[in-house]
Symmetry: C2
């Protein structure tokens, strides 16, 4: 933002970070916060700060009473008018953008005198996170957080322009809407007019955007607030923002092209960028995760059959099980080596995922040693070498379990752990994936519970409708969905699906998910009815705005990318929300608290 | 949106409204809704409709089984592939954009067969508004509503780009926030984690955007959802959208320049457009309203002194009162005349505003007649002529009351009524005003109640701080605010103010408004504290998005400009929200309904 392109009528002529040698001789006015005051006896200097930077004020030409400077406490707000002068050579500061010049003040005004703040918003801040959240407006004065807010604003601008250019219409959907059980809890709003009834805040505008397709909106998007009353983890917030998209008459190719275009624009990757596609099955096989970090290798190998009937009973037993899985990873010595204690520490890495330990052995100058090396026959070694892209000296790791999900999770945890601790990737790189062919359903063979893997509006793959109509759990579990995720560096940036557009298929989905016809009618009756009056094939996706901005700004904290975040207990430390309503309020809403 | 600029992978090559003679010979695929089917024995035609228009499908080159057309019920969704042909001359339709061509179908697919819908979304729709709201997705299929949604999307895009160009950052503020009494009722959200406490949905992000100025964001905007649990009128909705703006270091000039720029861009008025400024006092004097429609004359004249001590006792008595007011309007015969019954009907016009009637007399060929003509002495007539821009033949109207507010309101109602019924303005014209110098406070001299005219964060005019510090009601009532409204054709499009940035002035404001120090601390303590640590002078404004789009699209119904509006009782007819939560839900939120 250059002052010259702004509208007239601001109290300043320039920003504090803007003045250069080319401005020498100009009369300027600047406004900002007192960042530093130096009183060198005869000489006085004030560093004035605004969002754009710092300018040094000098007072050698000042005719007024210099005692005013006594009131310039740190963080006070000041307006200064004066002439831009070159600094004396001895005072030039090439590290500062405005370090060649200073403003010799002729008039100065103390606009707002600051009391001593709980912490200063520059340099190294010692304050606890609680204190910083309570005084969020001070923390936000830091250049780092203001820069992040700006980058977030820029990213939403880019996302919108990308979609506008492709003919999308932004449509706002209601926030006061109907309560629907979507896995996470709804926030509800008691109605004053309709006693005993509630609105729900949307977990996403899923049905509404599908209704817009039925309504012939053709291409919809919305950058919208979503709400989930979940037990919070460090990276969750009760409200968050998504770039929400829906299109009529798409194919899977269109959805991938659209996601590629969005990613390309947001991450400035150029027009030829296209997401690398990989199936769910392949990504699970190679990484044990549907959102792998592919900036580094250490890929998984399925070595279950290698150990079937082998002398290593632990693995041989796993190989006998229907859903048993043995996964291997190979870390070449040329990449990194691990000390024994680091190898042993892997047990702790897999524990949270239900793993009991990580088997391993070492190859050094062709000789095997350590761990399970005594069970590794030449035949087994040959089989391992056959599966491995790399061979020779290095460390082999194994995760095995009769429940393949546990084996995947543990091997994924080991891979991520080694990737991070051994710094196997370039932190400045972005590695994107388009993961597709997800399972349609989450089937728990033990409890026989069936859930939607993506959500209950996701279309089965057309060649697998037969599996979907079956009541056999194995067949249902094998049924693939027309669903996809956009993955970057181990995180899901977004995802979506083609949707069911036939009311009979939709009703079957509710049946498979265990909703009685009455429940389905009560919850989704209006939606299923809407499918009857001519519904175009449609599909969509959503990107999580916070994760996107965290990725763009390379921060690990979701609180960094929100202006006014809440704590893990969903409290706003600054305003004290939530707070006790007065009794008149609850009475008017016709409810009372339980004791 | 041209198909050629789109990404590949859609099921169609062209939109239905897109084909022209230049496309003749091309093989195309189009998708859409069956708008009309004609079976002329040997010839079959289907009109296919999408958001962009209609295309006629012919079946003369179709090799398949034509009996498929029996399933093409109206509103079914169809994909057709074929070759664009010129229509025979006899079948050309110049009224239709695609009327010179047709698609001779070679392949056709029924994607979604429609049941008979409750109403058809084209032509004249007979359905009641309730039915249209229940099947909103059908009503939204009409070109009119889709066009409005598109214009709304375009307007938000223009608003954002205008602000981005001026260096503004869009910042999202929380929707789950703190309950604050701002005149209208909060919607509240019970917290599951903090039993007995609630979040409130923001009526506007007022304190949050001010905190962003304290946080050095410099120039903020947000196109944000706001919530008010008011008793609904036809033109109110429980949630609405505003373009919310805040700037640091502005003058009133900057705010006016900014508003002018926004209006100029949104209404395409060119770079030289500047809002016409008028003070609150003047606008009240001339129009009796702070949001007048200035597309026509019929301006008010203050004739109180003309009747002081006159023989017309009714007006003479009003003139004696401290707050008494007599207003006159003159309607020249050359503009319009009124029949006697239309003059008498004005009594009904002023009744809702507390008026007892409208006095009048007629001037015809220089002679006075009718109404109060016998009281109009040559001196009074001379005085009236002195105040009037126009004279000669015509009708004079008078509204008088010892409470000037009632006189203003009645004269305003008469002026608006005559403007509308006599069609005194061009409905295609937009006439904008910048109204400023509003009173700071709303003072009720009878009850001695004091409210904020704009809101409690508005800055008094700097030359009137003395009035503001006084405890005299007349002085407080006379104190002007640094507040302004943007008015168009009788509606407030937006408004704002420079804000209090001194915590002592802010505390004084709470005191004037009757908040005890404890209440002020409880509600706004964190905000008043924030003002202590260096607060820049700042100000802002907000535009009502729905009113803006209603103005741009020339509709009188707020429901037209929202995708999924609620009824006057805040119900969503389509989904049935609000709805009864299940008991587990309320139990978990720790409340129960009162019986």
């Amino acid at each position: 933002m250059n002052s010259q392109t702004d509208l007239s009528g601001l109290m300043r002529t320039h920003h504090c970070g803007e003045l250069r040698e080319s401005d020498i001789g100009k009369k300027v006015s600047i406004c900002g916060w007192v960042n530093k005051v130096r009183d060198l006896g005869a000489l006085h200097f004030v560093d004035l700060r605004d969002k754009n930077g710092l300018t040094q004020l000098g007072f050698e030409e000042f005719k007024g009473d210099l005692s005013i400077l006594k009131n310039f406490s740190l963080e006070s707000v000041v307006k200064a008018t004066g002439v831009v002068r070159a600094r004396p050579d001895s005072a030039k500061n090439p590290k500062m953008e405005t370090g060649m010049v200073e403003v010799q003040v002729t008039e100065v005004e103390l606009l707002s005198k600051a009391e001593i703040p709980p912490f200063l918003p520059h340099g190294h801040i010692e304050a606890t996170e609680d204190l910083r959240l309570k005084y969020r407006y001070l923390d936000l004065r830091t250049k780092r957080l203001q820069d992040i807010l700006k980058m977030r604003s820029d990213a939403t601008r880019t996302a919108r322009e990308t979609l506008y250019e492709l003919g999308f219409t932004e449509v706002e959907t209601p926030i006061l809407y109907k309560t629907t059980p979507e896995g996470a809890r709804d926030y509800v709003v008691p109605s004053r007019v309709h006693k005993g009834k509630v609105y729900a805040l949307p977990q996403s505008p899923q049905t509404l955007k599908q209704l817009l397709m039925i309504a012939n909106t053709d291409k919809y998007f919305q950058i919208c607030r979503c709400f989930r009353d979940e037990d919070l983890r460090a990276d969750r917030q009760p409200e968050f923002t998504q770039i929400d998209i829906e299109v009529s008459f798409p194919t899977m190719d269109y959805m991938k092209n659209l996601a590629s275009r969005m990613i390309s624009r947001l991450f400035k990757l150029g027009d030829n960028f296209s997401l690398k596609a990989i199936t769910y099955d392949e990504v699970m096989e190679r990484y044990g995760s549907d959102k792998p970090d592919v900036r580094f290798g250490l890929e998984h190998m399925n070595v279950t059959q290698t150990f079937a009937g082998s002398g290593f009973a632990t693995f041989a037993d796993v190989a006998k099980e229907k859903h048993g899985l043995v996964k291997a990873m190979f870390l070449p010595t040329s990449t990194a080596t691990l000390a024994r204690k680091d190898i042993d520490a892997l047990t702790e890495v897999v524990k949270p995922y239900g793993g009991k330990g990580v088997a391993w052995f070492k190859v050094e100058a062709g000789a095997l040693s350590g761990g399970i090396s005594k069970f590794i026959t030449p035949e087994i070694l040959a089989s391992l070498y056959e599966k491995s892209k790399e061979k020779g000296d290095g460390l082999w790791f194994f995760c095995a379990d009769k429940n393949q999900n546990i084996a995947h999770d543990c091997a994924d945890a080991v891979r991520r752990h080694l990737g991070k601790t051994l710094k196997l990737f370039n932190p400045d790189e972005y590695a994107f994936l388009w993961v597709y062919d997800f399972p349609l359903l989450d089937v728990d063979f033990d409890t026989k519970a069936i859930g939607a893997k993506h959500h209950p509006f996701t279309m089965p793959r057309l060649d697998q409708v037969e599996l979907f109509m079956s009541n056999d759990l194995e067949k249902l579990a094998a049924c693939k969905a027309q669903a996809y995720d956009i993955v970057c560096n181990g995180y899901e940036l977004g995802g979506g699906s083609l949707r069911i557009f036939d009311n009979k298929v939709q009703s079957r989905m509710f049946e498979v998910l265990g909703l009685s016809p009455e429940e389905a009618q009560h919850q989704f009756g209006f939606f299923v009815e809407a499918l009857k009056y001519g519904t175009p094939p449609h599909g969509g996706m959503a990107f999580g705005m916070e994760r996107l901005v965290m990725m763009l700004t390379k921060t690990d904290s979701i609180r960094d990318v929100m202006a006014f975040p809440k704590t893990a207990s969903a409290t706003d430390q600054m305003s004290g929300a939530p707070s006790k309503p007065n009794e008149a309020q609850t009475r008017e809403l016709n409810f009372k608290w339980l004791e």
